[in-house]
Amino acid sequence: MCLAIPGRVQEIREAGGMRMGKADFGGIVKDVCLAYLPDIAVGDCAVVHVGFAITRLDEASALETLETFREMGLLEQELGGAPESS
């Protein structure tokens, strides 16, 4: 229970008046409660903890860290330029 897991929202539905959905965690699809992220949309990534999406997975933060790597001269050597998305 300690870790939150990044997943991609696959489907959003209302269940008992609450915003629920399904998220894909690297192939494993689980029910998640989206009540705390009212703006999240299908296709967005979120950090999910004990079945609740607690924050959108911030792509800008990821890019910021990658930029730090780049400034240290690490990414160019490893990836040959801009990071590729998978």
């Binding site: 897991i5 950090v47 924050t55 990821a62 490893e78």
Partner: protein
């Protein structure tokens, strides 16, 4: 998920380690707040590649460790009742109370169930109206909203057979206590990322709290990046047991700096 592979690139990690070696000119005592961070550090061997002068001190951020003994005993007593279906996160089942643990209650015939989400416990209450379903609501700022939502949903559905044994604790007061303790050797933190995800950063003490205490302050290393469960080793009974000895100390929010002992060749210090 995008970029995950880039964050796990071993060659990049080695280069960063080399850079850390290059810029490290003096010893640092750094505390990683979460046990998830500790697991990642040990599992990926990060402690092995850091300079010897960088000391990693395990922090208080483990819900299994900080749940007080009397709450565990309450859980055991409730779970042992014949009319109760007791639901818990899996981590808590091996945490010993005064006499036994939840696994033992289960083996003795108690209806103890592991759930992933508190909403699973609500569903059980819905499915089994003749059972008293009790959820063990423990954890930090990260589980509190989920547990609160379970209560909200149960009330909305008019369930009369759902209840919760609650023991929530806060991370920032523990960090503040460490930062302001005159006995503390901690000079930097790897802070609790998911707590920040829920609460933001404003609750954390500023580096001025460090400055008041130490001339060698560096501020708080903020870690708001998401981690993946793939780097997380499951908690075993082996490390749950000794860790609990510190539980009551932390839960009183009068955190003292853990006494450290040096282990083996890694040069890493531990309080466990």
């Amino acid at each position: 998920v995008k970029y995950l592979d880039e964050f796990r690139d071993g060659d990049i990690a080695k280069r960063i380690a080399e850079e850390i070696h290059r810029i490290t000119t003096r010893p640092w005592a750094t505390m990683e707040v979460c046990d998830g961070q500790t697991h990642s550090i040990i599992r990926n061997g990060i402690d092995q590649i850091l300079p010897a002068g960088i000391e990693l001190i395990h922090g208080p951020g483990c819900p299994v460790c900080v749940t007080p003994l009397d709450v565990i005993d309450q859980a055991l007593a409730i779970a042992s009742r014949p009319e109760v279906t007791f639901c818990s996160f899996g981590d808590m089942l091996r945490v010993p109370g005064s006499g036994k643990d939840l696994f033992q209650v289960k083996s003795e015939g108690g209806d103890v169930r592991v759930v992933y989400s508190p909403l699973d416990a609500v569903r059980l209450a819905e499915s089994f109206p003749d059972r008293e379903v009790v959820f063990f609501g423990i954890g930090f700022e990260t589980t509190a909203p989920a547990n609160a939502m379970a209560v909200h949903v149960a009330k909305q559905q008019g369930l009369r057979n759902f209840s919760m044994l609650v023991s929530h604790v806060l991370v920032p007061p523990a960090i503040a206590a460490i930062m302001t303790s005159p006995r503390s050797r901690v000079q930097a933190f790897l802070a609790a990322g998911h707590v920040c995800a829920v609460m933001g950063l404003h609750q954390y003490p500023t580096s001025r709290a460090f400055a008041r205490r130490s001339r060698h302050c560096a501020g708080v290393a903020r870690c708001c990046r998401a981690r993946s469960s793939r780097t997380h080793a499951p908690r075993s009974a082996g490390n749950a047991r000794p860790a609990r000895r510190s539980a009551r100390r932390w839960s009183r929010a009068r955190a003292r700096v853990p006494r450290t002992t040096t282990t083996g060749a890694s040069g890493m210090t531990t309080r466990r």
